[in-house]
Amino acid sequence: MKHLKPLNKKAQRIDDMVTSLAQEDVVALQQAPRPHVPLGCSLSFSPGWEVDAGGGTAGLCQPVERDIYDCYVTCFWPVQVPDHVNYSPDWASNCATAAKDWRNLDLVFP
């Protein structure tokens, strides 16, 4: 730590902890050094828009279309998905069950 100088053993443990937290623990799959993630499946989070370690989307654990539907319905990512309040109220009308019908979701062109 830069501003706090540890003076006893307990303080040293806090210093060690803060120093270890300072290392980046969230990295993109294509960012060096590449993290070890089994290809095609991310164990830690829904990969969303991100490409996999090979640069493609095919191996991700769920297709972007499935993901974007989730954003649409729950308004998670309001800017980059079809806006179900204003201009695309019917975007998901052909998709009764996302797990089965996600192929019916189409792109929205401005």
């Binding site: 501003h3 706090l4 006893n8 303080a11 806090i14 803060v18 829904s46 969303g48």
Partner: protein, 487 residues
């Protein structure tokens, strides 16, 4: 779940729980929920000063630091660092959790054997025999039998599960009134310890009246640490440390002490002084015990007493004591800066706890890693509860009564003491002595409120000493820690 929602949250910050102090022109904090000590640089001090007692938004803090000449990114990093160490916390932060209680199967480390409840002195303030006694020895054994003592040693070694070293303290009554047993126990425990590959250390407390050359040689040969209960030069010693006839004990113990200190070469010899009404001349007592008699260390404690005992220290007496403690503390610091050990153990003990950064769930090890055994074989939380029926935690023949032990420990946990929750000195104090609390308030789980101000004053004094040594002679603290680990 899909992509995370990204929303910029505007945090406000407030001070975490810490006690600030200064020494040698530097600024320090004692971080209470951890027991950690840090030196602050000017930037961190600027931030904490600005933060004051009211929460401030992230942006307001940044603006202040930028005005103070720090770059925006520096300021941001600093806030980040202080927040991670919890020197500052966000305004929605919950209080830090209390230190967790030790596990139920915490291995035993030390046993205090009250090898007799008999004493050849009749010190008027004695917690075992005086007005505030809680012991009811009538009808019980007066001297521990060898059988009970051996059972106790076996019990200690069994309950120490996996420890490489254990400790036996001999206590009384007057311990040396049962010296033959003590000698046999040391022989037995050494043999049993060796079978298991466990080192057994020893110490005893005595009034020194019964020391002989033979006993001193035995104590030295077996590296048995000795604490002598005594109150100072003749006029102070003889005030309350008297025989049943009223005759003082100084003249009897003086030659024996000189022989002890001259001939016991394997352990530090410590004096333990009880401060009472009229026995408050701390400096004079210290000089006599350290310089005239040659004790290695001298520790002081005010007498344990309920209100209105004639021998109690009143506030005036206590303030006088504290003023003299400060004088000796200054001396301790001068010694430390020269790299020398000073014998005032009230400072030394606190410094060694500060080096570790202890954060106590309980005030001491009583009922956890340490237990007392009375002459009859009753197990108690510590020697101060010997022969006190309501505090018995089992019997050496049947083992620890886990339910009673659990009740004792849950009452004594710092988290159960309301008044301690807002006190910055609680990592070290944890509410103070269970026995003193019982004598004062009738409840071992009561915080010792009568000495809170004193504890805080003393802890602050020791923090400032620590800060000063860490600036001027940091190597001393390392040597001190190593030395303490050996003793």
């Amino acid at each position: 779940m899909s992509m995370p929602m990204t929303v910029t949250i505007q945090h406000s910050y407030r001070r975490g729980e810490f006690h600030p102090f200064a020494a040698e022109g530097r600024d320090f904090i004692y971080l209470v929920p951890a027991g950690a000590m840090f030196e602050l640089d000017a930037a961190a001090m600027t931030l904490l000063t600005r933060l004051g007692d009211r929460p401030l938004s992230h942006d307001a803090l940044i603006d202040h630091l930028v005005e103070g000449g720090y770059s925006r990114s520096d300021a941001d990093l600093m806030i980040h660092e202080l927040r991670q160490a919890q020197v500052i916390v966000t305004d929605d932060a919950r209080p830090a959790p209390a230190p967790s209680a030790p596990p139920k199967d915490f291995p035993l480390q030390a046993l205090v054997l009250n090898i007799t409840n008999q004493c050849n002195l009749a010190c008027t303030y004695c917690y075992e025999f005086g007005a505030d006694k809680i012991a009811t020895p009538a009808g019980k054994k007066k001297y521990m039998s060898l059988e009970t003592a051996k059972e106790s040693v076996d019990f200690l070694l069994a309950e120490a599960r996996g420890r490489k070293a254990v400790h036996i303290t001999f206590f009384g009554g007057e311990t040396l009134m049962n010296f033959p047993l003590l000698r046999d126990v040391v022989g037995y425990a050494n043999a049993k310890g060796a079978e298991r590959g466990v080192t057994v250390g020893y110490s005893l407390t005595t009034n020194a009246t019964l020391l002989t050359d033979e006993i001193i040689a035995f104590l030295s040969d077996n590296a048995i640490g000795v604490t002598v209960s005594m109150d100072g030069p003749p006029d102070l010693q003889d005030k309350r440390r008297v025989y049943k006839s009223g005759k003082g004990s100084y003249a009897v113990i003086e030659p024996r002490l000189r022989a002890l200190i001259a001939n016991h070469r394997t352990r530090a010899i410590t004096a333990r002084v009880t401060l009472t009404e009229g026995v408050t001349d701390v400096i004079r007592i210290y000089r006599h015990l350290k310089d005239d008699l040659g004790f290695h260390e001298v520790g002081f404690a005010p007498v344990t007493a309920s209100d209105n005992q004639a021998y109690s220290l009143d506030d005036g007496g206590m303030n006088g004591v504290l003023a003299q403690f400060h004088q000796l503390a200054d001396e301790w610091l001068e010694y430390a800066l020269r790299g020398e050990m000073h014998g005032f153990s009230n400072v030394s003990e606190t410094i060694s706890e500060l080096i570790q950064g202890v954060n106590k769930s309980h005030p001491c090890g009583a009922g956890i890693g340490l237990l007392g055994v009375g002459p009859s074989g009753d197990i108690s939380p510590c020697h101060r509860f010997t022969d006190a029926d309501t505090h018995t935690l089992g019997h050496i023949s049947t083992g620890i009564d886990k339910q009673k032990q659990g009740e004792f420990l849950s009452k004594g946990h710092v988290d159960a003491k309301y008044d301690c929750q807002t006190c910055w000195a609680r990592p070290l104090c944890a509410g103070g002595c269970h026995h003193e609390a019982f004598v004062r308030y009738g409840d071992t789980g009561h915080a010792n409120l009568h000495y809170c101000d004193w504890i805080r004053d003393w802890t602050d004094t020791c923090l400032r000493i620590y800060g000063a040594v860490s600036v001027q002679n940091p190597q001393f603290l390392e040597r001190f820690a190593a030395r303490k680990a050996q003793s």
